[in-house]
């Protein structure tokens, strides 16, 4: 069932190594997405973004020279963009805005702004009780999740590597992917890559690239008059679970399950009804837990489940069809690019990586250290 709101424009900024500024990349993504929709900046009266500055949406509005009726800068890492879809749909339905742009961009590779230590503010409990031990943030948390997962379910690093191998197979079909043309990745190469925080090697970790994206939303009614195939928002859900590395009792149980369940219930769909799935692959282990939260397999079964190649191109479960954060692009908060790919799949624009006849898609963002979880279900009539 549609929420009465549709995505009518999507775009990426330049990706990879751009030597551009954050606002320059934001502008690329936003103007390209509006052009895709056949709209202009004058039509935009709602803006949702983060990762620019303390006043992200305000900063962006100033930069674009607009004075929006509605903004959101909820800071929830890579899941924020799926949360923004929910809030934008609500704002549009409530009549608070007619045309909302959701965007993100980062120049973290060009600017060398990524730190292995992460950003932990001095006044937070984590600064006193976690940072003194020097965990990598967020990598060491995901590494502890992986270690616990492998221990608890008797799985292996070889099995986990299949997630990175499959992502590379998809990236080889996407000319915009950072690893397009890099050739296939093997399980042996994943295991032999430099260890960062055991059991995760650099090949288990997402890329560090520049990049950004934008999506444009409006009412389904107005969408019918625009030039693109409207991609309806069918449902959404979210959970917020932790900032510390010690709050979650069971490392192998993700808050994603609740977010996914809410989103599917709103959409009136079951996971088996979804044709294409885009999930945040910050690390290989993130995908394993998310697959289980999606309910495509049981707890502890994800790695056995995917060994037959089902998440690779041509497999039964098309997943991360652009190559994901592992092999396509990872600008620090990847969530908006999950939406861009889901929409393109539903419009049938993906060329060699197109999932034939895709009519429903699910995008799931994960932020922080399995801290925030947000799901969006999308669909087209065709």
């Amino acid at each position: 069932m549609s929420e009465g709101v549709a995505i009518v424009g999507v775009a990426e900024s330049d990706l990879g190594v751009t030597n551009q500024t954050i606002l320059g990349l934001q502008t690329q993504a936003i103007t390209r997405a509006l052009e895709d929709a056949g709209l202009t900046l004058r039509d935009v009266d709602g803006l949702a973004t983060s990762g620019i500055s303390r006043f992200s949406a305000t900063q962006l509005a100033d930069w674009l020279g607009i004075q929006p009726r509605w903004t959101d800068s909820t800071f929830a890492g890579g899941s924020a963009y799926e949360m923004y879809v929910a809030r934008a749909a609500q704002a549009i339905r409530a009549g608070q805005a007619t045309t909302v742009v959701i965007s993100f961009a980062s120049n973290q590779r060009s600017a060398r702004s990524r730190s292995l230590a992460g950003v932990i503010e001095d006044h937070t409990p984590e600064a006193q009780f976690e940072t003194p031990y020097a965990p990598l943030y967020p990598i060491s948390y995901y590494a502890m999740v992986a270690q616990r997962y492998l221990h608890e379910f008797g799985a292996t690093r070889e099995q986990l590597a299949e997630i990175a191998v499959a992502a590379r197979e998809w990236a080889l079909l996407n000319p915009k992917a950072f690893r397009y043309g890099a050739g296939p990745l093997t399980v042996e190469e994943v295991l032999a890559a430099p260890m960062i925080s055991s059991p995760l090697t650099v090949a288990d970790c997402c890329l560090v690239t520049d990049g950004g994206g934008a999506v444009v939303l409006t009412s389904s009614e107005r969408a019918r008059d625009l030039r693109t195939t409207p991609v309806e928002v069918l449902g959404y859900g979210e959970r917020t679970t932790n900032t510390s590395m010690t709050a979650v009792d069971d490392l192998t149980a993700s808050g994603a399950a609740g977010a996914v369940a809410d989103a599917l219930a709103r959409a009136g769909l079951a996971i088996g009804d979804i044709d294409v799935i885009e999930v945040y692959d910050s690390f290989t282990i993130t995908v394993a837990l998310t697959l289980e939260a999606l309910g495509v397999c049981g707890r502890g079964e994800a790695l056995d489940f995917i060994q037959d190649g089902r998440i690779r191109p041509g497999g039964q479960l098309p997943l991360n069809t652009n190559g994901g954060g592992l092999s396509y692009c990872h600008p620090g908060q990847y969530g908006v690019l999950l939406l861009v790919e889901a929409v393109r799949q539903l419009r049938g624009e993906c060329g060699p990586r197109q999932v034939a006849g895709a009519r429903t898609a699910l995008a799931h963002g994960t932020g922080g250290i399995f801290s925030t979880h947000a799901t969006v279900v999308l669909g087209v009539d065709r």
Partner: protein, 134 residues
């Protein structure tokens, strides 16, 4: 061990850090519902009370819930490799910590551990964990 600098205690955590000067590991417990939590807060996350929280001495023993060996230094002064862990204290709460007293890659999930201390320049001490049998 080259640990990162440790911020000063605040109004909520002062008692916890004060105990570390005597190498006492404490856990915050709610007198109303009897349940424990870590790190110390100004509210009980189990029952919501704000007026019954106290610090109890912990046994100082626990089990490795999970761990990771870090091979890339997050700060220039930190020597790698080292083992970061979630240790579940016998009181039930989970602490983030370092595992010392054994080679970093010798650790396993489920290992029994006991607290040890790294003295800080300001007189406080940072709890780390070593093999329980050591």
């Amino acid at each position: 061990m080259n640990l990162s600098s440790v911020p000063a205690p605040d109004a909520i955590t002062a008692g916890w850090w004060e105990a570390t000067r005597e190498h006492r590991l404490t856990v915050q417990r709610c007198g109303a519902c009897s349940r424990a939590q870590h790190p110390p807060r100004s509210v009980c996350i189990h029952c919501g009370r704000t007026d019954a929280l106290r610090l109890d001495d912990a046994a100082g023993t626990g089990v490795v819930d999970s761990y990771t060996v870090v091979y890339r230094a997050p700060f220039p002064h930190v020597e790698v490799p080292y083992a970061i862990a979630r240790v579940r204290l016998d009181e039930g709460v989970v602490c983030l910590t370092r595992l010392t007293g054994a080679e970093p890659d010798a650790w396993r999930i489920g290992d029994r551990v006991r607290v040890d201390w790294v003295d800080l320049p300001d007189g406080r001490a940072l709890p780390v964990f070593v093999p329980a049998s050591g």
